[in-house]
Amino acid sequence: MKRRIVALLAATALLSTVAACGGGDGGSEPGPVRLLLPTGAFERSMQPVLAAFTKETGIKVEAISMPQEDARSRQVLDLNNRAGNIDLILLDDVAWLSEVAAQLEPLDERMAADNVDIGDFLPQLVDVFNIDDKQYAFPLGVSPRTLIYRADLFEAAGLTRPPTTYDEFLDYARKLNTGGVSGFVGPWGRASSNVSIWLELAFNHGLESALSPDGKKAAFNNPAGVAAFKLMGDLYTGGLMPKDSIEFAHDGTLVAMQKGQAAMTILPITFLRAMNDKSASPHAGQFRIAPMPTAAGVSTARYVVTGWGYGLSKHTKNADNAWTLLKFLNDKFQRPGADADPEQLIRPASNTAFANPKTQEIFPDGQIDIVRKALESPETRPGVVQWGEIESVLGESLQQMFLGKMTAEQALADAEGKVNKILAG
């Protein structure tokens, strides 16, 4: 009899364990609002806002920080499994949004019901998170890439203004490439970074779009695309960049600029504040942003904007609290007050943010106008679900060219073939 009782208890325990594994948290109170934070400046800007939200509403927030690529894959898996463990989905502009839009709840109905105003955001940035007239997120941390340069080195080289054409840009890079300082440095080591720069350079060489209008074919293998590829290759193989920059990501590029190893770079403007941080760089105060140069035939500079927003998971069991947090974030990032953290203002996205004195301090001497102009005509990465894979292919081709294994024409043609295959499914 004892054996039977023990066996029954053991079986019950086993079944309970299995049931607990399969069950959700049905019936229990909604827990904290869960979201992922990409490590870095955006994370730092979010932390005080989230703390203020909990203080004001009593709703707890569980914000998990991790590298952005890890966040991306974790979210995709969570959404694909319909687990609903992450309530607010981190979105890196339309590139990530297109991957998961089918699993997100469009915000339009909730916005209409609660009279949520987004009128102070720059409308072009609101559109970054809009697909088929459905709004999926608010532009909380969007920034363009611009040319960033060392004013003191320019002055020492007798350069009175930033370059406006790419011939001039290369000429400047050669002139500045002296005395242990490289003319240029960029994140040539990571596809997620260097492909966005290539895209921006290609736009400024006259590229219309990276993909065909229906998103089914590559449209980048043309003179503009090749010229941008070649420019990036020439900068590296011509010895105008630090030798180890083919393993740099954004942070490596930032450190190289802070240490004074290079005179120019192309990075998101969010890095300007870190460069001009006196505790981080002996050259602080000398870094300035400039408009992107344009090639012959391109009248207006174009900028690839990337950045963060949060969408509402369709599978969340905590939708109301998550929506309350989204409204709070919308308000704080759209209308940052005098007490706003400077980390939040390094990505101004609304009229109020641009008017904030702290933003003016970060981008003094008219630089804020360059930022505003860049954000008013933003280009985004193509909104196709395969963009992540396409980015990997283009990044690999770029590296083959940097290593001298392919010419720019060969590398881009190779990438075109692979991208068409990916898009064909």
Binding site: A7, A10, E99, G388, S392, E396, K405
Partner: protein, 335 residues
């Protein structure tokens, strides 16, 4: 002593106390004609006789667990590898048969990765065994502070892959890394350790640094079991150092060497963390191994069909190497 005729087991038992005949409320134990009482438990089926239910449950539970966490994922992975399936696609998996396998075999990019992985395994495991063996021989000797040195040599094995990756990344740093600083002291130009020419060698070096201590540990333990008389006899016979190693030591530690070969090969084939932190598979594809491509394809491109296929190639390499080692193990010891 009684015999349990159902189970065939023997054991001490106590005779049931007799029931007073005058107690009409108690049921009789027997009807007096040798039949089983009406309320007795039903007879067990023949296949069950002699089995212990609780014991069976304790065996079944872990087997069910293993089935759930091992067999099901393996079968599921095989199923996925026969499908075209991207996690970001709205449509579900689409059966494509062996297309993914054909693609891996016919695409130079994947073939190169397989070859590079094989080269990495051969180089790292070979170096680990040679170095590990040499260090174990050295540690086997008695000298002052030998114990402290043994502990120090095993330290790399105790460090996590992430820490090792970050540490070596700092050491390899082109501008200001410790290795280049040391080279500078003796007038040698800086080396781009993680550049296109040196990156593969650098990840091999790091892997050997981290994993050779395990080889040392196992072979050192095997050497401890070696009778000293054998070496003394070899000395008396005038055997040279190499002959002593080849004819005396190696045959004794051969099983240990085979053990570390199998383990280290498995570790090397799935090496990921340290390499990812050092180079993320770059520059270009210079340090891209199968494990890195599987990660990229599965968790960056979300093409789980292709990633599952690549993982089967990883399994295949593992199996082939394991079979070779096992055949070697069955051979007569080195003589």
């Amino acid at each position: 002593m009684t015999v349990d005729h159902e189970s065939g087991r023997t054991g001490a038992s106590v005779e049931p106390a007799s029931v007073p005949s005058g107690d009409a409320s108690r049921p009789s134990m027997s009807d007096g004609r040798g039949k089983a009482p009406a309320h007795a438990a039903p007879a067990r089926p023949r296949w069950w006789r002699g089995r212990d239910g609780l014991g069976l449950l304790f065996v079944l539970a872990p087997m069910l667990f293993l089935f759930a966490v091992l067999i099901v994922p393996i079968v599921y992975n095989m199923w996925v590898s026969l499908h075209s399936w991207r996690l970001t696609d709205v449509g579900g998996p689409e059966f494509v048969g062996l297309d993914n396998y054909v693609e891996v075999l016919w695409t130079p990019r994947w073939r190169d990765t397989i070859v590079r992985t094989a080269a990495f395994v051969v180089l790292t495991v070979g170096l680990q065994v040679v170095i590990g063996f040499g260090v174990a021989l050295f540690l086997h000797k008695h000298f002052p502070r030998a114990r402290a040195l043994r502990v120090a040599l095993l330290l790399p094995m105790m460090v996590s892959e992430v820490a090792v990756g970050n540490m070596w990344r700092l050491l390899y740093n082109y501008d200001g890394g410790l290795l280049n600083w040391a080279l500078g002291l003796v007038g040698i130009d800086r080396v781009f350790w993680l550049g296109p020419d040196m990156a593969f060698a650098s990840i091999v070096l790091t892997d050997v640094w981290q994993n050779a201590p395990f080889v040392t540990l196992v072979i050192f333990a095997a050497l401890q079991t070696m009778p000293n008389e054998l070496l003394e006899a070899a000395d008396l016979d005038g055997a040279s150092g190499w002959v002593r190693i080849r004819r005396v030591i190696l045959p004794i530690v051969q099983p240990a060497v085979l053990l570390v070969l199998i383990f280290q090969t498995m570790f090397a084939i799935r090496a990921f963390g340290t390499i990812w932190i050092l180079t993320e598979g770059g520059p270009g594809t210079a340090t891209t191994l199968l494990s890195i491509d599987i990660f990229r394809v599965a968790l960056q491109s979300y093409d789980v069909g292709l990633a599952s296929t690549l993982s089967w190639f990883l399994v295949a390499i593992n199996l082939i190497v394991a079979i070779i080692y096992m055949r070697w193990l069955k051979r007569e010891p080195l003589t």
